[in-house]
């Protein structure tokens, strides 16, 4: 079908948006994070429902447990990883202009990292300093 990939440079493989040999990576990571999030949701939703109307002391007490810190950190990382994978597909589908598409992808990827960092930082401060 195609020439043995060993004879072709990486650039030649990706130049015309052909295979760069990571075809299933995006798909696989989206599924992997969705399985993680499905499980984490089973913990997250009841935890947050139990905090409805709670004062700050109750929230800090919740965040003071190692299990909460671990699970919430995992949730934050999985949420923003999954979110940027999904947004990437939406942008690929609906932004036809190449320049705008690239700009949108950059903004989404950086915003996801920024939001995750903000959430993890808040979690650390609330858990250890609050």
């Amino acid at each position: 079908m195609t020439a043995p990939s060993g004879y072709r440079s990486v650039l030649s493989r990706v130049r015309h948006l052909g295979s760069a040999k990571d075809g299933v990576h995006h798909w696989w990571m989206q599924r992997l994070t969705s399985v993680a999030l499905a499980l984490l949701t089973l913990w997250f939703v009841p935890s947050v429902v139990a905090l409805v109307g709670a004062d700050r002391a109750a929230v800090l007490a919740w965040l003071g447990s190692p299990a909460t810190v671990a699970l919430l950190a995992l949730t934050i990382v999985a949420v923003f990883h999954h979110a940027q994978l999904g947004m990437q597909v939406v942008i690929d589908d609906y932004v036809p202009d190449e320049d705008w598409r690239l700009l949108a992808q950059i903004v989404v990827k950086l915003a996801a990292v920024l939001m995750a960092a903000a959430a993890l930082s808040a979690l650390a401060f609330a858990a250890f300093k609050g």
Binding site: R31, S34, V35, L37, A38, T41, V45, V49, A50, V52, G53, D55, R56, V59, L60, L63, V79, F80, A83, G86, M87, V90, P96, M115, A118, A119, S121, A122, L123, F125, A126, K129, G130
Partner: protein, 130 residues
Amino acid sequence: MRGRPLSPHLQIYRPQLTSVLSILHRLTGLALVAGTGLLVYWLWSAAAGEAAYACAQRLIGSWLGRLVLFGWSFSLFYHFSNGLRHLLWDTGRGLSLPVARAAGWAVVVLSVALTLGAWIAGYAMRGGGV
């Protein structure tokens, strides 16, 4: 790009359960991305101090805050339920039309039931007060 056929042709495409649920999966995904802002803000306010947390509580507890939270929770439960349907498809199961439709209705029922259940539990948690 110009002149190429687009699929589905929305002007002549009759909406059906499977197609509506499909676009709803994407729309709720986008809503969840927007909702992460609220989650990060809430965590951040808890880390920041009493005044910031009280402000966040007022904002989220207002009728507009609750409306947004209601939409966000439905988006979460819908994306969760329909995500499970997608994971089932990924195993190669449930792809026939009757099963896809039945699973689709199951997703509708499950996401509505989970949303109502979470809100009833949330209000009960507050001791019935508004």
